[in-house]
Assembly symmetry: C2
Homo-oligomer: 184 residues x 2
DNA sequence: TCAAAATGTACAATATAACGACCGTTATGT
DNA sequence: ACATAACGGTCGTTATATTGTACATTTTGA
């Protein structure tokens, strides 16, 4: 998402104001135009790797400082605010609720599959595991050559470093949560 | 410099090959065009912050992994390879020998000033210190309202968070080393 | 109080990042 | 050996990052 732009923007502005520098000064310090610095601070531009480097170097701050997102202790995610990923002619909907984080190394989605909807997934990175919990409807998981039939309340864990298919065999909408863990 | 591009390029290619992924696969995984991935790997493109994020997220690697430069234990820098920064109508030359590093927090230059050459420096970030050693010729340092006259072999250390001026008052070329330390 | 400088933004021009379609070469498999 | 798919790269087009100039507003200083 463009989330990262806003994080960068906020950090840059914070640093600049803490150091009491004008856009002009930062511009000279970094060798990047004043205009560009301004646009980046307003989240209007997605700076290039080289300009990111120029800024980090000019301000003598670490790369990480600029892209680091200070997470609040508590955060609430509203369903409507989550960008949905849909395919198979809209027969399923994927909501990335908690995106991947480098430290925790997992991400959590909720998924809705319409009747007869199918979701085919490529093999993920080596060692990846998935944890599925069915909250509504039914689910048929196909991993390798094996099929598993899950009903409401059932759960499944499997190595996801191989192709796998989610299918709703029933008449009602299937709702499930999907946690994906990527080992180091 | 475009150094950072090549670092990113090398890291990306290394990761892709370690995971045995094709450009196509990486493209799908990240939502970035195959062409772009290829160009980045070849160091031909300076990716945007958002595409950097897409790649890091798609590959499930940390931002830092992609821009990290594994420093060799020993490194030799050839004078001719150093990009020189020159001004005052070429009356002085600045060579960035050891650029700034986040961990060590200092950078080292060598500087040559022709006769009557002058180098005016803005105030650096708060708390910054400079360490100058004169190897050839003479140097007049002006810090605040004070002037210091240095001869070959002399050295000076001063708080550089205020404007300061380097001047060669003599007839011969002045050569010096300049170390700048930026505290956290 | 008023002129002059400083500060952040708007705009037009240019450079280049990003994409999709196409191409030549190299694996693949039957 | 042959057809097919996979792979990495090139090319032309589009989107957008980046720059310099100009502008409106605020700050500064005497």
């Amino acid at each position: 998402m463009e989330e990262i732009q806003l994080i960068f923007a906020k950090n840059l502005k914070m640093i600049r104001e803490k150091e009491k520098l004008s856009l002009e000064k930062v511009s000279q310090l970094c060798g990047v135009s004043k205009t560009m610095i301004g646009q980046i601070e307003r989240g209007e531009s997605s700076p290039t790797l080289t300009t990111i480097w120029k800024i980090a170097n000019g301000l003598k701050v670490s790369f990480t400082t600029l892209i680091n997102n200070p997470q609040p202790d508590t955060e609430i995610i509203i369903r409507e605010d989550v960008q949905l990923l849909s395919e198979d002619d809209g027969r399923y909907r994927v909501y990335p609720i908690f995106p991947f984080q480098e430290d925790s190394r997992f991400e959590i989605y909720t998924v809705e599959i319409e009747r007869e909807g199918t979701l085919s997934a490529e093999a993920h990175k080596d060692g990846t595991e998935e944890f599925i919990m069915v909250f509504d409807g039914e689910l048929v998981m196909r991993v390798n050559e094996d099929e598993y039939h899950l009903k409401r309340g059932d759960s499944i864990r499997f190595k996801a470093d191989r192709p796998h298919i989610y299918r709703n065999p029933g008449d009602t909408l299937t709702k499930l949560s999907m946690t994906i863990y990527y080992p180091n």
